[in-house]
């Protein structure tokens, strides 16, 4: 046990102390910051706060309750809405670039719903949306506030299943985003940890230290230590990211307090852990087995992509999973061990999954994980002493060490 611990510590520190690891850990938050920054900058550059105008022939907007459209980012000036009485003055203002567009509401607007827009350039859809909202709140102004707000905001549906007491809130942004986010993080974590593990196994082979190692401790101890050590490296990376994400999330909640109403279902979290853990071990062990059969780390990395494809596959069928979570394809994707880690949580977020399906999925994942570990152990013993010679899959199953 003591020796296992020594190897775990060695493997862990070896990676964590490297510059490469620090860069890798910083890369994701930096990437996200960059994306957000670029997003902000493009909004700032695209945003045009030049006022818009309208000419009202209906009489509903004579004395409007709001006369501006809020900017998409708080610190930018909001867009003014100016009332014109004649088309001529509006056209003049447009020609002088005092306004970027003007809307003409004909007398029969209530019957037809048609509005004419005049502009030098086609205005942003944002502006039309803004104007529509302005129009709507003015048309509803005579109703009580509560009612007019509800009409503009719409309803929020909470679905109650008769077979299960779990609630699915369609409106909860978090409940919607969480399975995607978790799936994405899972793929990242598996790739990183599996990559480290595969590299560690191949390096053992490239460095030819295998014989020294297994005359110092047992192959099982060595394999266990390698798996734990390298998975911990991946987990460290993941935990740092999750912490960064949580800090970011908390700060977003402070800016948009409305999100706080969404709740995370506790049983959903447990389900994800039950699915992710065996899947994590399964894929990492398979990568280790792959590492043991190849001769060079470069070669191993090329094969690693093979594992990513089935994992990402559910994202292509995301629409099916969301809209028909109980179709045969969805059920298959959530049971098949390679696609389950992404599909099952997504399905769970959009419908209630029968317990027997959950049990089958998790049981399959656990048995696959055990089989993968066995395979890795065998490939490890057989493949490690073959320098410069590949191990075939047939040999893993037929040959004795």
């Amino acid at each position: 046990m003591n020796k296992t611990w020594l190897v775990i510590k060695h493997e862990y520190l070896l990676h964590v102390k490297k510059k490469r690891f620090i860069f890798a850990i910083l890369s994701l938050p930096l990437f996200i910051l960059l994306m957000v920054g670029v997003g902000f900058i493009s909004v700032i550059f695209q945003y045009n706060s030049t006022p818009i105008g309208y000419i009202d022939h209906t009489g509903y907007l004579h004395d409007p309750i709001e006369n501006s459209i809020k900017a998409p980012i708080g610190f930018l000036p909001s867009m003014e809405i100016i009332t014109f009485t004649s088309g001529e003055s509006a056209q003049n203002s447009l020609n002088n670039n005092e306004i970027q567009a003007y809307y003409i509401m004909p007398v029969d607007f209530l019957q037809t719903g048609k509005i004419k827009v005049f502009a030098n350039e086609i205005p942003d859809s944002e502006i039309n949306t803004g104007f529509t909202r302005f129009l709507r709140s003015n048309l509803l102004r005579s109703l009580p506030d509560k009612i007019s707000n509800r009409v503009t905001e719409g309803a929020s549906f909470e679905i109650k299943s008769t077979t299960d007491n779990r609630n699915t809130s369609e409106d909860s942004i978090l409940g919607f985003v969480l399975p995607f986010l978790a799936g994405f993080l899972f793929i990242m974590a598996v790739n990183i940890s599996g990559g480290y593990l595969m590299q560690a196994v191949v390096e053992e082979k490239e460095n030819r230290t295998m014989e020294i190692m297994i005359t110092s401790l047992s192959p099982t101890q060595l394999m266990t230590a390698k798996v734990i050590g390298n998975l911990s490296v991946g987990l460290t990376q993941l935990i740092v990211w999750i912490l960064v994400g949580m800090i970011g999330f908390v700060s977003i909640l402070r800016i948009y307090p409305t999100l706080q109403t969404s709740q995370i279902d506790f049983s959903f979290l447990i389900l994800m852990i039950l699915v992710f853990l065996p899947a994590f071990v399964m894929i990492a062990a398979m990568m280790a087995a792959l590492g043991a059969t190849t001769t060079e780390s470069r070669e191993a990395q090329q094969f690693a992509g093979l594992f990513t494809i089935p994992m990402v596959l559910p994202f292509w069928f995301i629409q099916v999973l969301m809209e028909k979570p109980n179709s045969i394809l969805s059920i298959f994707l959530s049971i098949f061990p390679f696609t389950a880690p992404i599909s099952l949580p997504v399905r769970a977020a959009f419908s209630t999954i029968p317990t027997w399906q959950i049990i089958i999925t998790i049981a399959l994942l656990i048995s696959f994980a055990i089989a993968a570990l066995w395979l890795a152990g065998k490939a490890f013993r057989l493949g490690m002493l073959r320098y410069g010679k590949k191990l075939t899959i047939k040999e893993i199953f037929t040959q004795r060490p």
């Binding site: 020796k3 020594l6 190897v7 060695h10 070896l14 390096e203 490239e206 460095n207 030819r208 230290t209 295998m210 014989e211 020294i212 190692m213 297994i214 005359t215 110092s216 401790l217 047992s218 002493l385 320098y387 004795r400 060490p401």
Partner: protein, 304 residues
């Protein structure tokens, strides 16, 4: 109790038979030679002894038992495929491997630094292993083999990357280890290296035992009826008792095969009587190389 007992082990890789019914014993405190040409099965044999491979049949006992995890700390192994972690500092690498043999970190550090000084590697200890030459890495690996003070040392081709100075140093270390009571198994195809070190040996060719016994027994068994003589005088081919005479070097050294009916005693007596000045005289013991070639040719095997 023998340190190692190998009984009838066989091992095949696919259709290729690597070892066929090999048996030998290694006694405590001796230097044992495991010899054979390249591809004879020496390394496979060692890997089976160390439980890296499982034999198809036969058994191995080490310190009187099967291989156990506790025994691993009592064994120092220098594999033929030399390997150290390339991307870390030499000292860190050695300390890590020593702690895996059950030493504490402080003790490993102390012992390793002594060895580093002795092996002239002290100034390189902060360098990465990959920056060292092959010979340096081999010496470093020898430190890993010996640092935990093992009772049994198994070394595979110990001289392969070493220059004459370092070869001599390693030989001295091996003798020193024997004097400390260690059992040493030396695996090599350089048979002349073994002759000056080994007490007993086994010779394997194509997976089969060809010779087994103490060095002197083996040599006596294969010694022909011949002598070496160094003399400035001329020896006629017709001199009584001579079957064949062969000049070995330019320095008046001859190898003489004697007729069966004459003893070496009688032959030297008659040489002295004939006033031939003898500078050097010895019974010609065959080298292991010669013995090996003889055995292999006799048995009709191929010498690869």
């Amino acid at each position: 109790m023998n340190t190692i007992e190998v009984t009838n082990i066989s091992k095949s890789f696919g259709s290729q038979k690597a070892l066929d019914q090999v048996s030998f014993e290694v006694k405590p405190g001796e230097i044992f030679g495991l010899l054979g040409p390249n591809g004879a099965g020496k390394t496979t044999c060692i890997r089976i002894i160390l439980d890296i491979f499982k034999p198809d049949s036969g058994s191995v006992k080490i310190f009187g038992n099967g291989m156990k995890e506790e025994n691993k700390d009592l064994i120092g192994y220098l594999p033929e495929e030399r390997g150290l972690y390339q991307d870390i500092k030499l000292e860190d690498c050695l300390v890590y491997l020593a702690t895996l043999k059950g030493l504490s970190k402080a003790e490993s550090l102390e012992r390793i630094n002594k060895y580093l000084v002795r092996f002239n590697l002290d100034e390189h200890k902060k360098k990465k292993v990959k920056e060292l030459s092959k010979g340096m890495q081999q010496k470093a690996q020898l430190i890993t083999t010996l640092v935990h003070n093992p009772k049994l040392v198994i070394i595979d081709e110990p001289f392969s990357a070493l220059d004459p100075v370092n070869t001599q140093m390693v030989k001295d270390i091996l003798r020193e280890q024997r004097d400390l009571g260690k059992t040493i198994v030396m695996c090599t195809h350089q048979m002349h290296q073994v002759e000056e070190l080994c007490d007993r040996l086994v010779l394997i060719n194509q997976g089969q035992t060809v010779l087994y016994g103490s060095l002197s027994e083996v040599q006596k068994k294969y010694a022909g009826h011949s002598i070496h003589i160094r003399t400035g005088d001329h020896i006629s081919e017709t001199f009584p008792g001579i079957k064949a005479i062969q000049k070995l070097e330019n320095h008046n050294l001859y190898k003489i095969d004697l007729l069966e009916n004459i003893s070496t005693q009688e032959f030297i007596k008659s040489m002295v009587m004939s006033n031939i000045n003898i500078d050097q005289f010895e019974i010609a013991t065959p080298t292991l190389d010669e013995i090996f070639i003889q055995v292999v040719t006799e048995s009709g095997m191929n010498y690869e």
